[in-house]
Symmetry: C2
């Protein structure tokens, strides 16, 4: 079986206020082309079809048209779960009718242990869940982390797994060995959202959504599809596309898809950029410039936009802080460093002694509710 | 064929700020009982399933569950059009899949002339339309009223009507011979929305939504289903339910459905009501009281609610205006009188000479844009 694995479409997403719907329509067209021409048996969308719980009519139409083309026009079975951005009720609308053409949407924990069988393969569709929800569902107050919650859910699934079949999990979660980008990093500094990859070891494959980097996890069995597009400037170096899993040949390949606009971050000198001395592959890309020597320029954005009309962000580059402003590697950075970087880059001020006390008190475990 | 004709569900409606979703769930249960037990072949919902273009998740769920039960659980073909309250794009979501089980939604003028054939009957599903839309669709600037628009649409349908079959139109519009209530009276004082009943004379039956009174039109072939519930106090005397059309026996009957709460308007004396001297069928009904001798009472609403907890409106009855405050019969009342009544009852002030000048200038044709 040849499975096309995609996810994190985030239809209706905006980037720095810019509506990306045209870009999304364009990239979904590329995806459709892939589905049509790569001898695909089935399509998996691993959550976050929509960017918002209540998508606009335009977003709803694009999703409907896309799902229609995959499932009805091209006749491919289609497996979908809800991500943290989707509204379960809204995504679930009409789903009972969709089943007739092997379009299966699961938004409920209740259905996660009931496999959808396509050919020789059992698919377990596990929507994005919250800890509290699992706690209520299992009536178990001991569930305090995502790891606990998933252990409990999988215990139920593993109890009935048909080993004669190929078993595939579809999920939307944060694997602990993976690296997040700004778009999906949880606000909580702790890692209680993380679930270890081993949790899913009984499956032949585990196909995930949530993290936007398609290589966020390094594994032969677990994969993130990655998002359809670069949805924040922190994703500017990430490849974007879809994955094809050939279960018979045990071959997995990532297929890059060409977007309508690339997302580019450039750090350098204002004059160099404004004078057109820097060459870019596409001047119509969505740019973020961090430029030095800009403080005495009036209306620098207007000038930059004359050359690069789709510039979305322009920031002065403050030399001595330039290093700190680079992308933070979440895997190798401590919580305290991330907190510090958050204050400096987002709040745009220096870290105070008070901040450090607060961090220690709240995030580093010195705070005790029962004191 | 036995057709159950319903419409104007307005799921998600509020009345004086009160969420009616529980009442709607209750009455839809009664409707379901009727569908299940009255040997129905097919269900028609003539528009305004939802009250708002962007329904809440709760409203969406109730609609989904109801449509599912009719179409899948009870296995009845289901014909739905969009009303002026529905969002076409949202209502249309998933509709391609629904067709497989004879659940047909039409939200587009484009599809109105293509009949849905069920047994020996052709159904023409005509969504609510606006004049401007018809003008664009037909590329005809001469279309300036609903009457023009519908003439044009029906010209197209009549050109291909199969006279061997029973032909039924489903529409959502304002028949000129009918009487509107506050809930659906257009804000425009003119009657450019009105369409004559004769327009639909070539059909065996025409099943409408829009007006909330199930007897808003007096005809043997054209019917309004009426709304599911009394959705404003002006509807307090209207029967509510659904209609069954037996096309073989040429028999049409209206089936009243019992709501969870009735809607009651009572005009009288404050003391009589507060002392419990007035007897009502159900003290838990949704009440509107217009009471005299209330001006010196502190917190009259609290006192009234001790007896009638679901009182939604309490107004002082000003004796000498009491007659004017009665329900206005739209059919026999002039536009000027309606305008006057609007100022008095809604704006709660007397009509001034300036108001009268304004009315003459804007509504009575004395105003000329080209002056």
């Amino acid at each position: 079986m040849r499975i096309l694995h995609t996810g994190d479409w985030h239809i209706g997403r905006k980037m720095n206020g810019l509506d990306l719907i045209e870009d999304q329509s364009y990239i979904l067209e590329q995806l459709m082309h892939e589905i049509e021409n790569s001898d695909i048996d089935l399509v998996v969308v691993a959550g976050d079809i929509f960017d918002r719980a209540n998508p606009s009519r335009q977003a709803l139409k694009l999703a409907n048209d896309t799902l229609y083309r995959i499932n009805i026009t091209l006749g491919k079975p289609l497996l979908v779960i809800s991500g943290n951005h989707d509204s379960r009720e809204r995504l679930n609308y009409g789903s009972e009718w969709f089943k007739a053409t092997d379009f299966h949407i699961n938004t409920s924990l209740d259905q996660a242990h009931i496999p959808v069988t396509i050919g020789d393969t059992d698919f377990y569709l596990l929507p994005h869940i919250e800890v509290l929800e699992a706690r209520n569902y299992f009536k178990d107050e001991d569930i305090v982390s995502h790891q606990h919650a998933y252990d409990k859910i999988l215990e139920k699934i593993y109890g009935q797994l048909d080993q004669e079949k190929t078993n595939i999990l579809v999920g939307h979660l944060y694997l602990s060995d993976s690296v997040a980008s700004d778009s999906e990093r949880p606000l909580s500094m702790g890692l209680s959202e993380a679930v270890s990859e081993e949790t899913f070891s009984a499956f032949d494959y585990a196909l995930f959504g949530h993290l936007h980097h398609p290589f966020a996890v390094d594994s032969e069995k677990s994969f993130y599809s990655g998002s359809l597009l670069k949805y924040s400037f922190s994703e500017h170096k990430q490849p974007k596309g879809c994955r094809i899993i050939d279960t018979d040949k045990e071959k997995v390949s990532f297929i890059p898809l060409e977007p309508r606009h690339d997302v580019v971050v450039y750090t350098g000198d204002y004059e160099e950029v404004a004078n057109g001395n820097v060459s870019f592959k596409d001047n119509n890309a969505y740019f973020k410039f961090e430029l030095s020597n800009m403080s005495y320029v009036t209306e620098p954005m207007s000038k930059i936009k004359m050359l690069y009309p789709n510039t979305l962000e322009l920031k002065p580059l403050i030399e001595d802080r330039s290093k700190e402003l680079q992308t933070v590697d979440m895997a190798t950075t401590s919580d305290e460093e991330i907190y510090q970087s958050f204050i400096e880059t987002t709040l745009d001020r220096a870290v105070t002694a008070f901040d450090k006390t607060m961090f220690k008190s709240y995030f580093a475990g010195e705070h005790n509710e029962t004191d």
